[in-house]
Symmetry: C2
Subunit: 263 residues, 2 copies
DNA sequence: ATCCGAGAGTTGTCCGATGACTTGCGGGGA
DNA sequence: TCCCCGCAAGTCATCGGACAACTCTCGGAT
């Protein structure tokens, strides 16, 4: 691997490690964080490798063990490293899906307005994934899609539709062949169920519309028609987005009568 | 005080630990992490609010101060909370662009194969943003685009093209009107410069092709033609992706079956 | 050859103390 | 009266040490 001309950015990560220039403007945790990150960026530590023990890292980075551990936890939250009790701290595989998966803890905390911004992204990506799936999905995958559809249509219980709905979309995402895309759609999707649109007064109508959407998507994929699949998936995501937007005026109140939508 | 602790496991505690599922005993840091997250999710702490001091949180969550601080750092790395020295720890604004921006520290660490997976996503999103920009960008924004283009074309120094290139794409992203989309493109973009494609033997040709791409994109946006803008932006991203892919096959191992990865 | 226990190595957790920074309050001077 | 300054309380930042919990290897016993 001589090729990757790896240019470590010179933003604020120069001269880490020497205690003489202990810049008072940089906190100890930042020193440890950037120091560890630098070790990985420069491939001194490679994916899957066990890192030196905390005591050595403390010595090299010139921070206390407490500060070092806080930096370690930050990188662990970002799925860059993975501490194992009693064994050591390991660099993760650094796969794109892992990195993106680090958002799973936080998207649930977004207010509805921020969530809707993510839904525009989701709509575009879901559409793209469906197009790819139309070209790549296996026959057995397509059969799985229809199995999910039938399972969803067989019940009107919102809780029972959750799992097959997840599987349906996950199957399409996986067929896209891009793990990063799959992970991103996975992160964005589950939140749509925190607001339980099926419990609205129009729940029955909404569920039927959703079922119809799923059939159209599956048909397009089965017909190997990427454009139709993309269109259908975008429409489906747009529907969800529209229903969700109904929650905007007052939080938690169904928008039957008090819908003062401004968008 | 002596609360029996929150035991509502079956609510929203999914997808955060991919380990082999040993949840019989929960570590102290996990208790603190989920406790804090739960306070925010249930809106006991709202965006922008100052959190209780660490001593109180330690008492309530029943963890030591060290473990609590590690949990705090994890949420801080995810941009959910923000500690301020001497003042207190505050819940962030919880905007989608903040959450997505937490990836900025990690994308630089991805190996090239993972980066290429992100580039497929980037291509789709850049295309969408360009289409939106064609419909929404102001006249002054369009003038800025051309100013960036001229600045880029005026030099052949890779370092000098970096800034205007950033501004060009950032302007289009901002014109999309979606802060989350803007942040995501911002996260994905800068990495393209860590591999300095302009320093390749074909650098001159590549740069000219890139300049041409930028002109086509700007023309389409100026003509208020979303479809043309989307196409041009997708083509531009695809070009970058192709050049970057040139770094891939480098090896001491013969590329049998293209690394087995289902592209 | 297999099983198992001891021991070294490593991370997890807690405690106490001190430094650094912010903020608000009140005193002193113009 | 008004403004500036300094003090003090509150809070986070950092350090050092100690012990517990866990993993893994190695050597002995069966």
């Amino acid at each position: 691997m001589t090729l990757p001309i790896f240019r470590e950015k010179s933003d604020d990560s120069v001269g880490w490690g020497q205690s003489t220039g202990r810049d008072s403007t940089v906190s100890a945790v930042d020193r440890a964080l950037h120091g560890l990150r630098h070790m990985i960026a420069t491939e001194r530590l490679v994916a899957g490798q066990r890192m030196p023990p905390e005591s050595e890292l403390c010595d090299e980075l010139d921070v206390s063990r407490g500060s070092l551990r806080e930096a370690i936890r930050m990188l662990a939250a970002l799925r860059v490293i993975e501490p194992r009790h009693g064994s050591g701290t390991y660099v993760s595989q650094l796969r794109s899906e892992d990195i993106i998966g680090s958002l799973s803890l936080t998207v649930d905390l977004l207010p509805l307005t921020g969530l809707l911004e993510l839904y525009e992204i989701r709509r575009v990506l879901e559409s793209h994934a469906a197009a790819q799936a139309a070209a790549r999905m296996t026959e057995s995958g397509i059969r799985t899609l229809y199995a999910c559809i039938e399972e969803m249509e067989a019940t009107s219980d919102p809780a029972a539709t959750f799992a097959p709905n997840q599987r349906f979309h996950a199957e399409i995402a996986r067929a896209s062949g891009n793990p990063a895309l799959e992970a991103m759609l996975e992160v964005f999707r589950p939140r749509s169920h925190n607001y339980q649109v099926y419990d609205l007064p129009e729940g029955v109508r909404i569920k039927r519309a959703s079922d119809d959407d799923h059939r159209v998507i599956a048909e397009a994929i089965a017909n190997r028609d990427p454009v139709a699949a993309a269109t259908a998936a975008a429409a489906h995501a747009a529907h969800t987005e529209k229903w969700l937007r109904g929650y905007l005026p007052d939080d938690g109140v169904p928008p039957s009568g008090a819908a003062g939508n401004s968008a």
